[in-house]
Amino acid sequence: MRYLFCLIAAVSFAPASSIIAGTTEQVETAAESGKYTYVMFYRSNDDATQRMARAVQSHVAEVGDRTTWVTVNVHDRREAPLVKRFDASRIPLPAVFGVAPNGAVTGVFREKVNEEQLHMAILTPMYSDMVKGLQSQRIAVVCMMPDADAPIPTGVKALQQNPAFEGKLHQVRACASDSSEAEFFRRMHVDPDLDAPVVLVFAPPGTHVGTFEATVSGQELAQALHRSGKCNCSKCQRNRRAASGKR
């Protein structure tokens, strides 16, 4: 009975990895069509792998219009590019990665995963843009706008011109009027019924530096970043050294 179950489980996710050629191409194709891909890495077809495969399969069946999934055996030489990209031979397996269409990794779950975690890995386009920025080691400056015509706050423009942050910022603009971004507003704790823009600043890999009103100045934003010690300018380094000295 056990062997039969294993065989069924193996066959159930075999098409994704072996029969359909090129898992890497599959991920690329899904990205081009704006779909999220769950990439599941495994070493052997053990109980944990089967449980994880069932969880992912069941989730994808629910949101199939937006997602797809592939399974990758780390020992399969044909899968080397994908294994190398996610360094999968060096992570605890089985593990599943949520990959946004822009290439951002929106979640990584090792050994077990549930429906809620997989659902949380699906982000709105602007949210995944912000995550991509953070994953490129940049500070994400998110402008939550009431509508598409609202101008970017002057403080954000000033911050972008500040030489201390040159090349370190990644600006994201999301509009409350865009229904596809409603989830982004919810997760950022910003009421979509906005009168004026709201600015959120995040440092890599995922530190919330602060939420500011539209009237915030460039200097105030810079000060908040310095206070957080996440911008790594000379001032922050001094603060860090002083803090570690006190400890």
Partner: protein, 468 residues
């Protein structure tokens, strides 16, 4: 000549005998002459010809005349003091070394394969056993509170320019940033107050800054931080000692395990085993040594000592088949060993001092018995009992003092010779041991000589000559 002294001489010669109350006197010319010759020889023997009589010269002369006795006692005292000084000096240096390691390594934790015992923090990877590298990712993905940096290592023996050394694989920060960034969404959710993932330890700075600037990319910072920000797959870092002995310079290419690695930098000297190593990217070392994704040790830098203490339990739970030790554990082990050595050194010192004391006492008793005639002559010449006992005690203190000085010299020489080889620490002098050793040597010599000195002081000059 004072009356008392004159009478003393006659008494010693046995020619004058005052019968109390009678005042009678017995004179025997032959015996007076014989005894006068004997006394003159004794005086000459004790004082030497033409040597002015002084306490110091008397003691010195006596020691030279009977060197074997004095040397035996001196040797035992010297051995006791040298054992104490040597062991204490090595312990003091070891303690200083541990304290400096504590300061340097702060809140660090080591994750080792099960069954590995740790002797040296800096050589924690030199045991030949391994852990899967996935443990590193497991720790990262667990987002444990207080983990600031991770430093896995894999060491393999190699030859560089004919010299045997260790090639150590290290993982640059950028590798961790990439994996840490996979959890951006979780971390954002946590920071916005919706989950507990990625919480920061109270009072600590939280997750490390990922934006690279010059201070982070300086390769030389590895010597102090034990972390490099970026490391090319074909780059190598060379320890100071190895670079010096093999004349390797930055920019040069070296051949290791059939691969050509470019020297990205020569590390400043640290006084640890790192000075004799070659460091390269962990994944490159795994590839060259064909080991697969394994490591020998994972160093976890906690944000503070309090956090490091709390992390041990969580790491134990996360990695049940690994051994988790904090720097505090290592220090505790070292402190226990030091305490044991310290107690042992005092026990050895005590035993040797007891033997030394007994030996001095026996030598002094024998000495007093042998020198009865000389002592009697001295007393006949007017030496008071306190002068005689001072003479004996002075000889004893000379033995104690010289023994102590010799022991101190021997002990320090042994500590400086053995310390660096046995424990790998540069030895410094333990002033406490030197002072305790000297005082104890002197005290034991004086205490052990007191009974013979007392016996000498109570000698009767008449009986001395009669015995002679």
């Amino acid at each position: 000549m004072p009356k008392e002294q004159t009478c003393g001489i006659w008494k010693a010669l046995g020619t004058c005998w005052n019968e109390p109350g009678t005042g009678s006197r017995i004179l025997d010319t032959k015996s007076v002459l014989t005894r006068l010759v004997m006394v003159s020889r004794t005086i000459e023997m004790v004082l030497g010809e033409g040597v002015p009589m002084s306490f110091h010269s008397l003691v010195w002369k006596e020691m030279r005349r009977r060197p074997v006795h004095s040397l035996t006692a001196l040797l035992i005292v010297a051995l006791g003091v040298s054992a104490l000084v040597a062991v204490e000096s090595v312990i003091t240096s070891s303690e200083q070394n541990v304290a400096s390691q504590m300061q340097q390594l702060g809140a660090n934790i080591l994750i080792l394969p099960e069954g590995v015992t740790l002797q040296d923090y800096h050589a924690a990877d030199a045991h030949g056993k391994s852990l899967p590298e996935e443990y590193v990712t497991r720790i990262m993905l667990a987002q444990l509170v207080g983990v600031e940096e991770l430093a896995p290592k894999l060491s393999v023996p190699v030859e560089v320019g004919g010299a045997s050394t260790m090639l150590t694989g290290i993982l640059p920060r950028t590798e961790f940033y990439k994996k840490s960034a996979w959890q951006s969404v979780d971390l954002l959710t946590a920071d916005l107050g919706e989950s507990a993932v990625g919480r920061k330890h109270e009072g600590c700075g939280g997750r490390s800054c990922q934006i690279a600037t010059a201070d982070k990319t300086d390769i030389g910072s590895y010597a102090t931080t034990r972390i490099v920000h970026e490391l090319d797959m074909n780059a190598a870092l060379i320890g100071a000692d190895l670079a010096k002995s093999q004349h390797i310079k930055q920019g040069q290419t070296i051949q290791i395990l059939g691969a050509r690695l470019k020297v990205a930098g020569v590390l400043p000297a640290t006084g640890t085993s790192d000075d004799g190593r070659v460091l390269a990217h962990l994944h490159r070392v795994q590839e060259l040594a064909d080991t697969g994704p394994i490591v020998n040790v994972i160093e976890v830098m906690g944000c503070c000592e309090e956090a490091a203490g709390g992390l041990v339990g969580e790491l134990d739970e996360l990695l049940p088949d690994a051994r988790v030790v904090t720097i505090a554990h290592i220090v505790q082990t070292q402190v226990t060993v030091n305490r044991l050595m310290n107690q042992l050194s005092y026990v050895i010192f005590g035993i040797l001092m007891l033997i030394g004391g007994a030996s001095i006492a026996s030598v002094m008793f024998a000495n007093v018995a042998e020198r009865k005639r000389e002592l009697g002559t001295l007393m006949a010449l007017g030496a008071t009992p306190s002068m005689v006992s001072r003479l004996i005690l002075m000889k004893a203190s000379a033995v104690g003092l010289i023994g102590g000085i010799c022991g101190m010299g021997l002990g320090l020489a042994a500590a400086f010779a053995i310390g660096p080889q046995l424990l790998g620490v540069a030895t410094s002098v333990s002033l406490n041991a030197v002072i305790i050793g000297m005082i104890a040597a002197l005290t034991v010599a004086l205490v052990a000589s007191y009974p013979p000195a007392r016996k000498a002081a109570h000698l009767d000059p008449c009986l001395c000559f009669q015995d002679a």
